[in-house]
Symmetry: C2
Subunit: 718 residues, 2 copies
């Protein structure tokens, strides 16, 4: 084990002296983690109950919110059914091949454990998503009704409804990771848990993303553009699908995405920590401390979130994030100080990660918020026509990538440099702790994010339930805060994914080396990947083109699916008598639209997902582990670039449209507005389908590579 760690970063000198902690300390830390998880779950239960007892008396709203919930359930049922097939196949493959092909294995039990843990990963995430959607559907109706009383009570319900998802996701993540470590005690197995989470995230995020944008674009194009009826008009057959989409895309999808990133970052850190510790020791337990403190800080942050009457909901959301960040930094500093062997360098690495996350959030905000010049410039450029909306949006979003990429680059350099003096292998461990640090406040982040679809839905319900202009305005204000915060969340999620996959690259090397040691091929131990090695270079170029093709396939999926749905909407308006005129009692067939969005989303997603997995396997079988190392790098680099670009472009166009709608550059209905709407439509699948799915794609590919390391060592052509 020692020789492995020593070669991890290609260093040969130095002796590892892991800080020894007693079994008792380990048990105490596990115990405290368990208490934190319990607290999170209890708090989530309390919030759910609290949301449920809020007034919900308007029958129209009840009816529609019921439709939304049943639509979301229909989607998830179908999604989970396909996922069950998919993950059974995957579980069998895992059993057959991992950690070693079962026919070479001296320990078939381990293969079985890997497969079971994989399934557990999908299950945990699925349950969290399911409950999250349920609470969001409770909250949206109640938020709409509370909006008649003003911003303050409505904000509270929406935020608390969203917070349930945040608490559950982080609690489930910590519970799963801890459970695996306690029961099995092998960090490698965690990669399988993480792959389970990623499989679900791929379906939830990319599938949900296709669903939501299919519905959104179709509803808008036929409703707002062709028929000139308002958004969320109940005559529109796609309107329920649109609201369902917000839930499945942003509540369940984003939750699964961040569950995935969170599990992946912890797994990568634990793989490296156990290697440094030679088992579960001080470094591994440090990971648990940081994660638990993050959850605790999020609980605290969530409990402080409130908006004063006439206060800004955006500020309220941001200030709880800052509170969470501050609490986390303080508590981790304290813990690190008290921790056996006091290693402030690790705290520094984690802080570097978290700060860069915040910086990426601020940059995203600058490039996508209407209060800053970029959105105004794009709105202004739209005066010359939609081509300029597109060109300026694309250009500024490309520029917005630079600070974020440089930020990630610097934080990984800083984390590495800080921790390297602790001993060989600690540099990479430092990077993984930066990722853990960045993701530590993820409970708060998800809460903010899930708030978005709840208020978006509430706005729709207020419109459909005819709660009056004043209420709709209140709902609008809440909604606008959701949009701003969403852009920040996405930047954060992508940045975190960036750091995580760097550490997954480290985990990949560890896996390869462990396999090589088991095979007795110790002279081949990896020390890294040389760019000038043509196999590595081959992998880099192929890997770099995958995120582009993957995101393109998803966008084309949305497009194809939207074409189907638009035909269906046209059909209903043509065939259902009285629908167009809004004759009372005439209702469109909402379910048909939900069915189309569901079936199409899953159909379009699968080829894209398979393409990336097959590409990984092909590259591995052709060029072996060196090509795969390059492949992962190429994938990370362009994946980050495109994910940041697409998320920011979508946010930018969305807010440029809102800026025009607020009466600037000609206002609603002007030519400029038409151009801005075109920009927004282009941005929709960018920001809600392709951009955030790239994260998951990167993680999936990294995990598949790590898990198949042994296979590539045995079977590769070159």
């Amino acid at each position: 084990m020692k020789s492995m760690t020593m070669t991890l970063m290609g260093q040969t000198g130095g002796i590892i002296t892991p800080v020894v902690i007693s079994q008792k300390t380990i048990i105490i830390i596990y115990g405290l983690c368990a208490l934190t998880i319990l607290a999170a779950f209890l708090y989530a239960m309390y919030l759910t109950k609290w949301v449920r007892i809020q007034p919900n008396e308007n029958t129209a709203i009840k009816h529609i919110s019921g439709l939304i919930l049943s639509g979301a359930n229909a989607f998830m049922k179908k999604e989970y059914r396909i996922l069950a097939v998919f993950s059974s196949v995957f579980a069998i493959l895992i059993f057959l091949f991992l950690p070693k092909p079962v026919w070479f294995s001296d320990n078939v039990g381990k293969n079985l454990v890997m497969a079971s843990v994989y399934l557990l990963g999908t299950l945990f995430s699925a349950v969290a998503g399911k409950i999250g959607i349920y609470v969001a559907a409770l909250a949206n109706a109640r938020t709409a009704e509370a909006a008649t009383q003003g911003i303050r009570p409505a904000f509270r319900i929406a935020f608390r409804g969203g917070a349930v998802m945040g608490l559950l996701v982080v609690g489930a993540c910590l519970l799963g990771v801890m459970g695996v470590m306690i029961l099995i005690g092998d960090a490698t197995v965690l990669l399988s848990f993480s792959l389970g989470a990623s499989s679900l995230a791929l379906f939830a995020k990319a599938g949900g993303g296709i669903f939501t944008k299919t519905a959104d674009i179709s509803a808008d194009l036929v409703g707002k553009v062709e028929l000139n009826i308002p958004e969320d008009d109940p005559r529109n057959p796609a309107v329920i699908a649109d609201n369902v989409g917000d839930n499945v895309g942003d509540v369940a999808g984003m939750g699964a995405d961040l569950f995935d990133s969170n599990v992946a970052s912890m797994s990568a850190a634990l793989v490296m920590a156990t290697m440094l510790d030679g088992g579960i020791g001080a470094n591994a337990m440090m990971v648990f401390c940081y994660a638990a403190i993050g959850l605790l800080a999020s609980i605290f942050g969530i409990s402080t979130a409130r908006v004063s009457e006439n206060g800004s909901p955006t500020k309220a959301l941001n200030s709880s994030t800052y509170v969470t960040t501050a609490v986390f930094l303080l508590l981790t500093a304290l813990t690190t100080y008290l921790y056996p062997g006091f290693q402030w360098r690790i705290w520094g690495a984690s802080t570097a990660g978290l700060l860069v996350g915040v910086i990426i959030g601020l940059v995203t905000n600058y490039f996508t918020d209407g209060d800053f010049p970029i959105v105004k410039k794009v709105a202004h450029a739209s005066k010359t026509g939609p081509a300029f909306t597109i060109l300026s949006g694309i250009s500024y979003s490309f520029i917005s990538v630079l600070p974020a990429m440089v930020g990630i680059a610097i934080s990984s350099l800083v984390a590495y440099t800080l921790c390297e003096p602790l001993g060989p292998g600690y540099g990479m461990y430092g990077i993984s702790m930066a990722a853990v640090g960045m993701l530590s406040i993820v409970g708060m982040i998800i809460s903010n994010d899930a708030y978005g679809p709840i208020v978006d839905n509430a706005r729709g319900l207020a419109e459909m339930g005819s709660l009056g202009e004043e209420t709709i305005r209140t709902a609008d204000e809440l909604d606008s805060a959701g949009n701003t915060v969403k852009a920040i969340t996405k930047g954060f999620a992508i940045g975190a994914a960036g750091l995580t996959v760097i550490s997954l690259l480290g985990a990949f090397i560890s896996e390869v080396n462990e396999a090589l040691i088991h095979m007795g091929r110790t002279e081949e131990l990896l020390t890294g990947f040389n760019i000038m090695d043509p196999k590595v270079f081959f992998g880099i170029l192929v890997g770099a083109s995958i995120p582009a093709a993957f995101s393109a396939m998803l966008i084309l999926g949305v497009e194809k699916n939207a074409q189907r749905m638009i035909s269906e909407i046209h059909r209903q308006f043509d065939e259902i008598e009285g629908l167009r005129e809004g004759v009372s009692g005439v209702e469109p067939d909402y379910n048909r639209c939900i069915d189309i969005a569901t079936a199409g989303a899953l159909k379009e997603l699968i080829p894209a997902g398979l393409m990336t997995i097959i590409a990984t396997i092909l590259v591995g079988l052709i060029g072996g582990v060196y090509a795969v190392g390059g492949f992962l790098l190429g994938n990370i680099v362009t994946g980050l670039l495109l994910a940041l670009f697409m998320s920011n472009a979508g946010g930018l166009w969305d807010n440029a449209k809102k800026y025009v709608e607020a009466g600037n550059e000609g206002g609603k209905g002007s030519e400029v507005h038409k151009s801005a709407v075109i920009g927004d439509t282009v941005g929709d699948p960018f920001k809600d389908t392709a951009g955030p799915s790239i994260n998951t794609q990167i993680t999936v590919v990294s995990l598949v590579a790590s898990l198949l390391a042994t296979v590539f060592l045995i079977f590769s052509i070159f």
Copy 2:
């Protein structure tokens, strides 16, 4: 020298036994090269004379073509003036720092040589561009007149006019490289020559690109969209600027771009060859043989280009390309067979490069030509509105990147694997020979490409000179062939740049190692760049974001500049009486538009160019040579990706518009057409400004890095 080569790829075994060739053989090869260059120049002179004696009697056309020429000259004069300042500063910096800071240097003479050779590089390219523009301007008027007689004579004039540029560029490249090698005998100095060529290319390609798209977009938006007057209507104040743009962007710009790539590929190959040979030997002379044979094959291909009456000009252009390719492969096979020490592996590497170039061309054609399904799909998607034109265009172009990237990846792997058995260091030499092979037929490629703007101009002249419907139709057909071929050329140019910069990465390592040996720091000799080294990783992430920011700055430049020009056009239509109505004798102030395009282009270009150079230097000063290695890799990877994406997207949208205009999906004037026009406008700066400029950006950065290697070794912080 031996130890250096041995460590070049991190290999330690094996002994280099370069094939020895006699001084006499070297002289014979140089002599044959010189004869080929002479033949190219004489043939270019003959073609120029031939073009000049073609009929040119229509006074209206003479007048306008004169305006175009003087506009192009005005742009180039201003461009060259700024370039003179820029390159003087650069030359002084080179003198001060290269190959070593002058105050450390034991050989100040070498610094002086580097600076002079740099200036020579700019000069050669500038002269070729100037003559090329002149001949193009001769040819366009004559092509328009010949078009009254039919396709056959018009094609001939246009093609021969373009071929002058092709012959001059390749002849000048070979002459320059050979001159430097004979007079100075040091391949490193070639990098300076290459940087000179790149500096010019940056101005010519990016500056010309901004110019041409400013004029094109402005002329179209006001003319076609607002006032509904036809393309090339002489009332439009921007019409001459538009035609000038074709020349400065596509004749001079593309010429400078390929001159640059060609010089860079030869330089990289020669740096590695002289290292293998320990001076000028068999490997270095092989580079000259291949380059000269490429020029010879191009001369032959050019001389065979003709179209039968009613034949397809596209086919004629493609078939001469195939002739050139076949002749090249045959002659190089023969030469390789007869060459001392017969190394078919090197021939294989070069062939792999050339074939991948052809494959990239075919893929590009599939994704951008109206005869294939993709263009039709994009046109069909436009039915749902411009947002879908954009979304589908972006998606398919992202997918189109995959085969090209995989192609480059495979060709470099094949070239490396083929040549590696020849000895240590031969693998990288093989990759550089693949690049030389790919660029070998560049004379033919440029000829095809320069044909495009000539027929485009001729179409304009036919319209403005009122040569009648029939002639305009003929000109249209010639023009359409130009568009198709242009897309292929671009794919080719980008692919070649990809392979070239890989070998420039090799050249960078050689430079660093040479410097280290001179410094006596032999224990630090580089063997490559480890992805897992945080400095390398830092460089990769930063490098990867540069092409995105660079292209964004150019696109924003076009946009800003177009806004200025549109105001000017509006002003002229408002203030010049009778202009709008087309009162005879009333002419707009064409020169004001040309001035705006010129001043704006150069103003917008400089920040983008400086940003990339400064970023390179900063990364080098922060992270040293390891960070720079990563930076170059990141830059190459996303640079290739974005360049291919942008070029293909632009071509795709352009041809989708043409497909609709040909009467499909509703035809001209329909809503679909409006959407397609929006797509085309977005694509214009993609394909003619940003996309092809990224090539040059990558080369500039690679050369700056190689040249500053010593500086980074001495001054870096980490």
